[in-house]
């Protein structure tokens, strides 16, 4: 899929992987809207990209707040048109240092679920209906290996990411054949502020740079897309494109 002139919405776009994706998508020719809670920060990122001649808009909003969802969807569509690609990247770790589940406040657990699961559900609900009507669209859930491995002290976050993975699978099952595709992408460990907050002792040199991971994800979106509903690791995204190309070629030969 070419990203040229495509309307893209990405959450959590003021720093880390989200910021790198914001820039990489805009450089690929997409018309991109970035969302983050810190309005000044997201507006600064958007301005920096716009100054390079790229189409980038920043919206300050809280994905965990029910009242912010239609404002995000509405403002984004007003700025770049009906959304073609929606990337759920924003997420909350909850309080750090990360507590054991027994020490996790119920309110903190709730807030993590609001931002990491309910927010993506609500935003998809506001945007995917139009994709269904047009018969095309891509929704990416940014996951984590904490979704599949039970790391002590990653309780709220890990549960939220496991739920987010499953949310993508069920969206994909329900809208199978509609032309709208859903993927979970596990970016792997990256040198970001979030990683430093969770694991301050980690050596940044051992971690992937968010720019590299963003480049892989954008390249994946531009390639032949595999079957909807899959959970993919960022390091293997190119293989997924290759497999999709092989399947497509097989179909051509068979027909």
């Amino acid at each position: 899929m070419s990203l040229k002139n495509k309307a893209v919405l990405i959450t959590g776009a003021s720093r880390g992987l989200g910021r790198a994706l914001f820039a990489e998508l805009a450089r690929a020719g997409a018309r991109v809207v970035g969302v983050a809670r810190d309005r000044a920060a997201i507006e600064a990122v958007a301005q920096e990209l716009a100054a390079q001649g790229l189409e980038a808009h920043g919206i300050g909003a809280d994905l965990g707040a029910q009242g912010d969802i239609y404002p995000i969807a509405g403002a984004a569509a007003a700025l770049v048109g009906p959304i073609d690609v929606l990337i759920h990247n924003a997420s909350s770790l909850g309080p750090t240092p990360l507590p054991l589940l027994l020490d996790t406040a119920c309110e903190d657990f709730t807030r993590v679920l609001e931002v990491n699961v309910l927010g993506p559900f609500r935003l998809s609900k506001a945007i995917v209906g139009n994709m269904l009507l047009r018969g095309e669209g891509v929704v990416v859930h940014v996951s984590s290996d904490a979704a599949t491995s039970a790391y002590p002290r990653w309780g709220a976050y890990g549960v939220s990411k496991a739920a987010l993975d499953h949310l993508a699978r069920i969206w994909a099952a329900e809208l199978s054949g509609s032309g709208v595709r859903f993927y979970s992408i596990d970016p792997g460990e990256m040198d970001t502020a979030m990683h430093a907050a969770a694991l301050p002792e980690a050596d940044p040199a051992s971690l992937a740079r968010p720019e590299e991971v963003a480049a892989r994800i954008v390249s994946f979106l531009q390639g032949p897309l595999p079957e909807s509903g899959q959970r993919l690791e960022a390091a293997r995204l190119a293989d997924a494109n290759l497999a999709a190309a092989t399947v497509a070629a097989g179909k051509t030969v068979a027909s």
Binding site: Y70, G74, G129, N130, L133
Partner: protein
Amino acid sequence: MKPARAPRVERSAGRLLLLDVANGTIGDRRPAELPGLLHAGDLLVLNDAATLPASLRGSAGARQEAIELRLLGREPDGSWRAVAFGAGDWTTPTERRAAPPLLRAGARLQLGALSGQIEEVSALSPRLWRVRFDLEGAAFWSALYRSGRPVQYSYLARPLELWDVQTAYGAQPWAVEAPSAGYPLDASLLLALRQRGVQLASITHAAGLSATGDPEIDAALPLAERTLVPERTVAAIAGARAAGRRVLAVGTSVVRALEGRALEGGGELRAGEATTSLLLGPGYRCQIVDGLLTGMHDPSESHYALLQAFAPRELLDRAHAQAEAWGYLGHEFGDACLILAGPDGRSEIAAANL
């Protein structure tokens, strides 16, 4: 007809009045039956405009008098047409609302996070303004969404939230009042229609206010409204017509937009963005649209005249009386009505289906 006084949680749970014009019959159905009432290949054209938070409260003029501004539509130059009301809120019917202060071009406005000024006062009414806001781009849209509320209706039991006034498939926020004919079309019904082989296509139409309470402005409604017709919708309509299939509009605004566009094109529907000011009524022969899914309209509404482009007045009156007897509900969140009409016998539905 009694109004529905609240939005439905389950969008497709209402009732569907079926008017078969060719046979002159009236049926009591459910929206979920819609796929069975249509044929494979029929084309449903929806308005995919999302609904704006078009009602802004604040103050105007040097004396900072309280106003409510209802946006009517965005002009190509980025300014907005809007109707002003004085103090008071949605619980007072619009026709009884206080008038706004008499202001001239240049007067300043402060509406929540939005500021701006009146650029022009319409000759039609001193309450009809063209307004320019100080912010642009993402900053403008963010501020509009932080400050605005959906246009409210005095007959409702509670104020509407932004999510109450969206269809399941809206995208660009162009509509000032929701394209409410599409409310019953939830995702489940859209998928069922597609499974049936019914084609779906969209236009984006900037549906304006249905009433302002100002007799001068209301007499001039609907004002010219902006419509975007995508290339692929033009192709889908041409394909359906060539195959002898029906083109069905979801909402009177879609009829108006498509027929207006065709009329301006000398019978040819062209893709692109343009404004429509066509008024349809009795005696008008539709060139594009063969039928209509719409809300329940009272004989007193202007929409009722448009329905007469599809069905004779006598049948509409009979259907209205029958629906009332069946307990159908009217207004924005009420029940639905499917009118299957159209030339060349294309309107007939299988007799076994009635």
